[in-house]
């Protein structure tokens, strides 16, 4: 093998974060190119660059440092570390995740608004009852409690039903497969199935506070 390849392998051997490095044999290179150029390709006569497979350890290596050392020891070598290709994908995935969080935030906010509205109209519809309760000496807390209990229970049941349906839907989604498209393989694994259980609890907490705030605001106008 040429000196350049040896120099590269030597550098790689001394690089922390590199698990193993191996130059591909000519047969392997031919196999890689075969789909494009056919089996008769005279690899020896062509100026095909020598490929070196690098497997990094879990900690990874310092790509910039390695690039500089390679430039010094083997001027023709090019380090192609794939992260370049992965980066936009990772970015897209991160953005998708962010959108997910924004969607969850919006859903929670609209849930709170909806419950506040519903509680407000329930309070308005029961104005006369609330007046009588005040007259016989009920404190705001007592009156609010009755409404809060009702709406929290409703939100809990509603969210529990919704979560159940959602989990069934997710369980029925197609599995990930080799020829799979972008959206397959969504779903929960193992303990992740417990995550959706937070939804009814969260809905209950939101309903509790939304109703409580609405109730105290409505009561303020009534002596």
């Amino acid at each position: 093998m040429e000196a350049q390849t040896w120099a590269v392998l030597t550098v790689l051997e001394q690089t922390p974060g590199v698990d193993s490095a191996r130059a591909l044999t000519e047969d392997e290179q031919r196999a890689l190119l075969e789909p494009w150029f056919g089996p008769e390709l005279p690899v020896d006569d062509l100026p095909i660059p020598r490929l070196v497979e690098v497997v990094e350890t879990t900690e990874g290596y310092d790509a910039e440092g390695l690039r500089q050392r390679l430039a010094a020891e083997a001027p023709g070598a090019v380090l192609d570390d794939h992260t370049r290709w992965r980066r936009p994908l990772v970015e897209a995935a991160t953005r998708l995740r962010l959108m997910g969080w924004v969607a969850i935030g919006l859903i929670l906010a609209s849930t709170a608004a909806l419950i506040t509205l519903a509680a407000g109209s329930a309070l308005a519809a029961n104005q006369q009852i609330i007046r009588v309760l005040r007259l016989v000496g009920a404190q705001d807390n007592y009156i609010a409690r009755a409404f809060v209990r009702r709406f929290t229970l409703r939100a809990l049941t509603g969210a529990a039903i919704g979560t159940g349906a959602g989990m069934i839907a997710v369980a029925l989604l197609p599995r990930a497969s080799t020829e799979g498209a972008f959206l397959t393989g969504l779903g929960f694994a193992g303990l992740h199935w417990l995550w959706p259980l937070a939804v009814p609890i969260l809905a209950g907490v939101i309903a509790f506070w939304a109703t409580r705030i609405a109730a105290f605001r409505a009561l303020r106008d009534l002596r």
């Binding site: 009588v132 005040r134 000496g137 007592y142 303020r220």
Partner: protein, 225 residues
Amino acid sequence: MIELQDAAYGYGADPLLSDMSLRLAPGSFHFLTGPSGAGKTTLLKLCYAELLPTAGSVRLFEQEAKEMARDDVARARQRIGVVHQDCQFLDHLPVAENIALPLTVSDRKTGDEAANLEELIAWVGLRARADALPPELSGGERQRAALARAVIMDPDVILADEPTGNVDWEMSLRLLTLLIELNKMGKTVLIATHDLALIRAAKAEVAARVLRIGGGRLQLAGADL
């Protein structure tokens, strides 16, 4: 107990009541009279802080009504039994539960109080009607239920707005007797009524002061009553 000093009130721009001064001393018995529309009910509403005076001061148990927090008002109302002119029941609850309502809302509906409730329902003669809904009661039955609700918390003060408005003379006397009984137990009583015969009947039994609202003012009625 309850004290008004130069208190005034008006629903609109014109004052309905002005310069109202009144002191309900512990154990006292008052009548409040005056023509319909004179403002008797309005004055009582000032006394339990459903309305706040537009001028002057109203004090409940040594607290200025205007400065009371909402929970203070609630606590003061637990010490004031009110027979409302229009009763103010919750029509979807049976009579017994309506009578017990002040206990329920103050989280005091315990065993003791429940026995007390039975006794009280019998005392106002409503044992047979305890499970009826308020709209199913006769006028007199409603007023007796309202009186029972007013006293269930063993209040210091009882404010009764036309407690005999819908009942015959015999029942009026019975209700009056109940109120006099309560006064003899040490409760402060104020009855708003335009039934002068009732006032005369009471005066034979109890030392009552008779106040009269007229022309937006409050005065002590003459000895002819």
